[in-house]
């Protein structure tokens, strides 16, 4: 029952995220847009390129979908409203997000097309930049909560939310989450207007529908993770807990879209340099500061 409710919430979130993304991109709010797009994609032809690595080509969209669903499965919407309250939840989120890279590399390699390949390899470079900025801020969150259980992490923010307790970690995680979900300005693997769609270039029809759905679910998963780790999860007055989680998740996604639409695309080399020369020293500083805070303020 819980599983069905959470999956329905995830799908509703993916729908809302698709509407928000189209709104941020075109400036027009079309609530029916995702439905029409899905119907059009399912009705369209879906060709396999002439010399594909068939296994990689077919597995990539499905793997991206599985990764997004598994990451969201350990994140709570309300007390008790979580599919699996895993003892190693925060670590499992990282593990599931790691498969986003695998899926995109497979999508890049599979079709034997130049644009897709460039997109896939670019994302590998991007991973080397953002990945540490995902795991290090989560470490600081776990230090405060003394646990990797996601529900305990939300409970640890009863007094002060982590966005106030460790704002540096929040900023780093937020940026890295955008890079993980390849949202603009970090949309190097797809790069609309430059790479002919990149890893999406050879996908059409039903396969592209699954790829787009997986991408929307991935955005929901990273926004939900930001909410759970930094924005107090389900905590808030008046409204029921699940409504707070949903509102905060959508607000995080909207902030990502609004921010991304106003920034120029970052080159892979520049992104790597910023992440390693500024991001990782700041992430280590964040761990140190939170370490002192945790000992000083119980």
């Amino acid at each position: 029952m819980t599983t069905v409710a959470v999956l329905a919430a995830l799908l509703a979130g993916a729908y809302a995220v698709a509407v928000l993304e189209a709104w941020a991109r075109t400036g027009r709010m079309r609530p029916g847009g995702p439905l029409f797009a899905a119907a059009a994609l399912i009705g369209r032809e879906s060709f396999v390129p002439r010399k594909p690595d068939r296994l990689f080509f077919e597995a990539a969209p499905v793997l991206l979908l599985v990764a997004a669903v598994l990451a969201a499965a350990v994140l709570p919407w309300a007390p008790g409203l979580v599919i699996v309250d895993l003892a190693t939840g925060a670590l499992f989120v990282n593990a599931a997000f790691a498969y986003v890279l695998v899926a995109l590399i497979m999508a890049g390699w599979g079709p034997d097309g130049a644009y897709a390949m460039v997109g896939g390899w670019r994302f590998l470079g991007q991973l080397i930049g953002y990945s540490m900025l995902i795991v290090m801020p989560i470490t600081a969150v776990a230090m405060r909560a003394e646990s990797l259980v996601t529900t305990v992490i939300v409970d640890s923010q009863a007094g002060v939310w982590n966005i106030v307790y460790q704002p540096l970690g929040f900023v780093l995680f937020f940026i890295a989450a955008m890079a993980l979900a390849f949202l603009p300005p970090f949309d190097l693997p797809t790069a609309p207007g430059e790479l002919a769609g990149g890893v999406e270039a050879e996908y059409a029809g039903r396969r592209l529908a699954v790829l787009r759905l997986a991408r929307a679910l991935l955005v929901v998963a990273v926004a939900l993770a930001t909410t759970v780790f930094y924005l107090g999860g389900w905590r808030g007055p008046w409204l029921p807990p699940w409504a707070w989680t949903g509102l905060k998740t959508l607000a995080v996604a909207a902030a990502m879209f609004a921010l991304g639409g106003r920034l120029p695309r970052v080159r892979e080399a520049h992104f790597l340099a910023w992440c390693w020369k500024l991001g990782i020293p700041l992430a280590l500083l964040n761990i140190f500061v939170v370490g002192l805070l945790v000992l000083a303020v119980p």
Partner: protein, 120 residues
Amino acid sequence: MSTLAQYALLLGLAVGSAGAALALYGLARAVGRERREPGKDVPATAGRLSPKPVWVRYHARYYGYALLFLAFDMEMAFMYPWAVVYRHEGLVALLDMGVFLAILFLGLLYGWSRGALRRQ
């Protein structure tokens, strides 16, 4: 729920998600099939076949970062258990990990000074 049951549920979710994707494929196949015509299956390269093979070796120009990434990624394997018991262990844990992280950070600075942190 036991740990085994939790992981079984996660496995079920993975299989179920894949099954949902396959069901979507089945629906699309029921709506209509592809019409095979020459030229439709050419990868997108400005309307003609790619002049060079795509599956070749590429120069990973970020390999300096990648090597440092390996060191930091291993370090994170130690950080998670440490973070859970951190408050319980107190200042000793901070100093222990501080020394460890300081060495790694010096490694990062050394790599930076030797030009590892740039696209080769």
